[in-house]
Structure formats: C-alpha cells, structure tokens
Subunit: 200 residues, 2 copies
Amino acid sequence: MSTPIEFYFDFSSPYGYFAAVEIDQLAARHGRSVNWHPILLGPIFKALGTNSLVNIPVKGDYSRHDMVRTARFHNIFYQPPSNFPIGSQVAARAALWVQSTQPAKAVDLIKTLYSAYFTEDIDISVVEHVLRIAADLGIDRDALQAALESQELKDQLRQATEAAGKAGVFGSPFMIVDGESFWGFDRFAQLDAFLKNGKI
Amino acid sequence: MSTPIEFYFDFSSPYGYFAAVEIDQLAARHGRSVNWHPILLGPIFKALGTNSLVNIPVKGDYSRHDMVRTARFHNIFYQPPSNFPIGSQVAARAALWVQSTQPAKAVDLIKTLYSAYFTEDIDISVVEHVLRIAADLGIDRDALQAALESQELKDQLRQATEAAGKAGVFGSPFMIVDGESFWGFDRFAQLDAFLKNGKI
C-alpha cells in the first residue's frame, strides 16, 4: 500500500492554489492518495523570521507577475484577487472542520474555496462568503458557523500549523512523501519523477 | 536582430551555476546570444532586507538538499562545496576584468570558475585559486592580479551590482529578455516558452 502525499497549503497562496488544481491528477498517475493540510503560513514565517514573497519590495511585484504567467504556462485559470494577500484562518478552519465532520466533502470544499478566491475574486477571509460556499456544497451552514466561533477549532488549526512546522514545512505548497520534501508548485516535475522512479 | 538574454548570476549560487551550464543551449535554440553579468547578491539582499536561502533556518537545510536533487534531475554534475556560501567578489571581479580586456575568454573563465567551485570543491573566494584557473586559460596572471587589487575594478563590480538592482534583479540566476524577467533556474521552462512563442 503506497503512502499518501502529505500536501500542505495556505488558502492565501496562489502557488498553493495551482498545486491544489493539479495534485490529484499527479497523485493518481502514481497510485497515490493525497492528505490535504490547510495551514497558516503567518505563524510559520514568524517563527523562521521570513516573510511572504509579496510583501518584499521588488520581489513582490515580480511574484505577482510570475503568478499570472505561471498560471498561463500551466493552463490554469487564475484571476489575481483584488484583496491579496488575506488572512486565511476562516477558510482553513472551515476546511479542517469539514475534514473531521464530513470528510467526503472536504476536498470539494477546499477546491471550491480556492477557486472562489483565485478565479472569482470572492474574499474568503469573510465568514459570510465561506458559509455561503459551504452551504452551496450541502454543508450545514449553522453548524459550521458555530464551529468557526469555537475555541476548539481555533486550537485545532494552531496545532495543525505547529505540526506542519515540526514536519519542516515553511512555504505553500509543500509536499512530503516517503520522507522526501518538495517546496513549491515549481517542484511538481521533480515530485512526479520521484513518485515514478522512487528516487531522483 | 534578436536582443540578447541578460543573464545575472552570483558565483556563490548553485542555481546560478546550473543556469550557467544550460543557458547557452537554451539561447541557441532561439537564435539568441547571452550577456553574462557577474554580480554580488550580498548588497542586493541588504538593500531589500532579504537573505540567502541557505542562511534561513529549515529553509537552508531544505535548499541544500534541493540543490543536489535539482542537479540530479537535470543531469548536471554538482558536488556541494565544503566552504559554502562564499564571498564571490574575487571571482566576479576577475570575470568583469576578462570581459573588458579579453572578451573572447570571458565565458570560458566564468564556466570554469563555476565548475571549479561546484564540481571540484575549489574555493574560488581565494585569489590564488582564481589566478591559477585564469592562467590555465591563457589569461595573464600578473595583469589579473594587479587588476584585482585596483580600486577601479572594485568600483566596476559595485556599479554592475547597482545597475542589476536598478534593473530589478534580486536573485541568482536572473534573466531579462525583451522586457520580461525570470528569476530562478526553475523558470527556464517558462523562459524557453517565452522565447519560442514571444509570449507566455
């Protein structure tokens, strides 16, 4: 039985979105499943003393252009959101809650949240928007709203982010499989080769 | 007449070395020439408040592994140097001096310095090593040694680095062609597509 690909992502990360669009297909080519890990990069960046690309002078402008170009290069639909970057706690907590309460709907919710933000300019840092998207997928809106206000769910995301940091995750997307770590959508070709050959 | 690819690199950068190994072939596929720009990332990082990947906790260990893996993936011979990273002033100044005095030997010197450092573990921050490598290529050792001690050559590298910064360069390798910027060896596929199609 092949081990799954551990896939870490932040909902505010365009490269994480690109990875979310393509990872199922990549995994399926090699008979692998995917464990989806929504995390917050903020606390991880803070612990390492790093920063988001888009907040660094010059690099920020370059990376915004690179995101558009990379999406075109890979034929992925992408519209830069007008509010970017955003705090992704609400989306990440909603995803975590659905993973534990209705796992069959979790990947669908994650992909829909990502595409709402990165293709329809829907600000998924807004609770109302996340609740509506979830409700559209048949998820209990009131139960989710209550969960989003609970300390338990906040703690769960904090713990998930801490666990990711302990596993060596420092960016989005970040993939770990069979002890090998891959950072960035631009490492998908290497991840693909690794899964094909069992080594690089 | 096609414009050349402006290719910026730091001699201490493994990804810059990978790019140096492959850029002539990429350029030739599209009838382009390459302008080689040795620069120092140190002052650029300082101005932007960024840092070298390898100096950041966790990211440093990951990137050292990624360098080895990326070299293998692209069939590039690479041996991590025992002294890394290094100050690359001496190598960069030597390359600049040969570019202006014996341009026909400049690319050869650049590639030989890079491969000395990244495949033979020869520390090219050491003046003696750079002089020997240059002499082996038929470059006047004494004239180069005198140039390396001149303020003029130091100023020339400082100015080249400042010009690169003004052109938006913030990493190594960095390629600019027809107004389009590409950061990183992992953007060679996009650079290739851009040169093929005139757009991405």
